[in-house]
């Protein structure tokens, strides 16, 4: 019963997609062309994100954590010694 409702709901969603994009008025072969192109583009987007997003996220985290970590160190030294202004050393000291 739930499967039937689900199927009906998916059918209705597909109908909405047909209406909003305007594909509803086209002939079946045109619909197939459009769906194929759209599915191809979505597949390419998913593949690209699967391959490249983790690497980019990791690099970004490294950059930002390195920046913040380095700054914290220099302010801590300033506060501890409190004397002449010590220029903050470059964060990438490892």
């Amino acid at each position: 019963m739930d499967v039937k409702n689900m199927r009906e709901y998916l059918g209705w969603l597909y109908y909405q997609y047909l209406l909003v994009t305007g594909i509803y008025v086209l002939e079946p072969w045109e619909k197939s062309i459009f769906n194929a192109v759209l599915v191809t583009m979505v597949a390419m987007v998913i593949y690209t994100s699967y391959v490249f997003v983790p690497i980019h996220v990791r690099l970004a985290l490294q950059f930002f954590s390195g920046l913040c970590g380095g700054q914290h160190e220099s302010t801590m030294t300033l506060m501890n010694w409190g004397g002449p202004i010590i220029s903050s050393h470059h964060p990438a000291t490892n």
């Binding site: 909003v20 305007g22 594909i23 509803y24 008025v25 459009f34």
Partner: protein, 566 residues
């Protein structure tokens, strides 16, 4: 500055009219639509109060509230509509490419081989649109009707095997389709009753053809009787009747104005008015739809600057407006137009094609609806097609005007006059509306139409659709916006046995496609309920309920009303 002097003059002119305690508004009415929506969103339940604040700056001219609403297109819907049209255009180019390279057979008109080097005939956007967008949903239009188009009608069933290029009749008939598309406002489109009996008798007496123009041998005593009756109905001195409503406009405006005259025409005027204005050769200037400030500015500029190069005064200034604009459902602001016309000494041509017989307590049209004097309107034009169930048009006005038109109008001199059974149908239905046939049928029908209009509009707005137009107009445009939904709406409504008219480009702006529903006095409450349920169902199926105004339910409205009484 302009507005205050105008309102002083207008208030002076209209001091005989009782202004029933309406406060002069602080804001202009024209820009008020945005304000109206903002107010509604801020104070969601203050509907009763808002109605009384919803007046124009010339409030004293109106004897009842003038409530129009044209809700703005939601931004997401507009973006998606453009996207839909973009995708369909790309596919249109693809199909044109296939046709050009003969990969696909071309069903539509194209130039012959010898003409290929000449200026192309079918390359403009209109033809592109027809080939690639209109043809795909063409089964919603030109549906053959095989019974009288009353409240219910029979349609011939058609199928197409090559995607709407050709149709075949299956031989079956779809019976008792509820008719929400015919302009049958008072329900006179019927084949039983006094009107059709009288028309049959007239056919037996006179035949059907007139076989001549009005000038030569086509002037029957029926026409004289008809014209006297129309003049009495409208409250004017004389009138003249023509065989075709479109021809009335397009053939008579050239007789009235010419070179050296100025025509001020509304933005959304009908094609017949535009054609007549262009044929006349006068200068045409367009003012924004129903916008009195725009009209006044044009009038002042015209009088101050005169004709374009010579600065001579214009020979005549003619203002062209319609009573009800059928694509918007809006009613013209006649009191203000008449005040402006009197102040600047212009002439007014009022086209009451949809409003005659449908508005006003005595069905005399928009002049009666506002309670004005018919002598203020110089040329009252109308058609018999809509409320009278016949065909043809008329022009009413002063006797000199009509005598002039009898000799100088193209339609009078060259076109055939009205056929006798049609003239008899008009005479009988008009007498019925005026109450002179001794029954109450006219009065009952008028009341039924007003009730149906109010009920139908209220229910549709409560369901959450975007409806354009004035609250009293029997024409109800329901917004669809997306191109695929135009075809889907028409087909789904027909599946539920309701016939509707859907309209898209070029009759409307490209993203504002709509379904135009016409309420009729022949619709009973059950029929309207069936139609409303079906429309609501289709609206849920197609996701058409775009409106962002939430109307309070009747219980909440009653609570508000009691609260405002204290």
């Amino acid at each position: 500055m302009t507005e205050s002097s105008t309102s002083k003059l207008l208030n002076g002119d209209s001091c005989h009219r009782t202004a029933n305690g309406k406060k002069a508004a602080r804001n202009g009415f024209v820009k008020n639509h945005c304000l109206f929506q903002q107010q509604q969103q801020l104070q969601k339940y203050r509907r009763t109060k808002e109605k009384s604040q919803h007046v124009s700056r010339n409030a004293a001219l109106y004897n009842k509230p003038f409530v129009e609403s044209f809700e703005e297109t939601p931004l997401l819907v507009a973006v998606l509509t453009y996207m839909g049209y973009g995708i369909l255009t790309i596919f249109g180019y693809l199909r044109d490419f296939l046709r050009q390279w003969k990969i696909e057979k071309c069903h539509i008109a194209r130039e012959r081989e010898e003409q290929k080097d000449f200026v192309p005939l079918y390359q403009d956007f209109e033809n592109f649109y027809t080939r690639n967008l209109y043809m795909r949903i063409r089964d919603n239009w030109n549906r053959p009707i095989c019974s009288v188009p009353g409240a219910r009608m029979d349609l011939v069933e058609r199928v197409t095997h090559d995607y709407n290029w050709t149709f075949e009749h299956t031989g079956r008939v779809i019976k008792d389709v509820i008719n929400m598309g015919s302009y049958n406002y008072l329900g006179f489109a019927e084949n039983i009753g006094t009107c059709s009996d009288a028309a049959t008798k007239a056919t037996l007496q006179y035949g059907v053809g007139v076989n001549s123009t009005r000038h030569e041998m086509g002037n029957l005593d029926k026409h004289v009787e008809l014209e006297n009756l129309v003049a009495r109905f409208l409250g004017v001195e004389a009138s003249m009747a023509f065989g075709m409503g479109f021809a009335t406009n397009s053939m008579n405006i050239p007789a009235l104005t010419g070179k050296g005259c100025l025509i001020l025409s509304d933005e959304l005027n009908h094609a017949s008015l535009v054609l007549g204005a262009r044929l006349s050769g006068s200068t045409i200037r367009v003012f924004k739809h129903n916008n009195m400030q725009s009209l006044e500015k044009l009038l002042r500029d015209a009088i101050v600057h005169g004709q374009p190069r010579t600065h001579r005064p214009w020979k005549k200034i003619l203002i062209l407006v319609e009573g009800i604009y059928s694509m918007e459902g809006s009613i013209v602001r006649l009191p203000e137009v008449i005040a402006l016309k009197k102040k600047y000494k212009a002439y007014l041509y009022l086209d009451e094609a949809h409003s005659i017989g449908a508005l006003g307590p005595r069905a005399r049209g928009v002049v009666d609806y506002f309670g004005l004097d018919p002598r203020d309107v110089d040329i009252m034009m109308g058609t018999f097609t809509k409320s009278f169930g016949a065909a043809g048009g008329y022009i009413g006005g002063k006797k000199e005007l009509i005598d002039y038109l009898r000799t100088h109008s193209h339609s009078a001199v060259y076109a055939t006059s009205i056929s006798p059974p049609v003239a008899q149908q008009i005479i009988t239905s008009m007498k019925c509306i005026m109450g002179e046939d001794g029954t109450n049928l006219g009065r009952d029908r008028l009341r039924q139409l007003a009730e149906n209009t109010t009920y139908f509009r209220r229910r549709l707005q409560e369901s959450g659709f975007i409806i354009y137009g004035n609250e009293d107009s029997p024409v109800v445009p329901l917004m669809l916006y997306m191109p695929a939904k135009i075809g889907a709406f028409g087909r789904e409504m027909l599946k539920r046995n309701i016939g509707t008219v859907v309209v898209g480009f070029p009759a409307t702006p490209i993203i504002e496609s709509r379904a135009r529903l016409c309420v009729s006095a022949a619709h009973t409450r059950e029929m309207l309920d069936t139609a409303l349920n079906a429309i609501s169902e289709v609206g849920d199926l197609l996701q058409l309920k775009y409106s962002r105004h939430r109307r309070p339910s009747p219980l909440e409205e009653a609570a508000l009303f009691l609260e405002s009484q204290e």
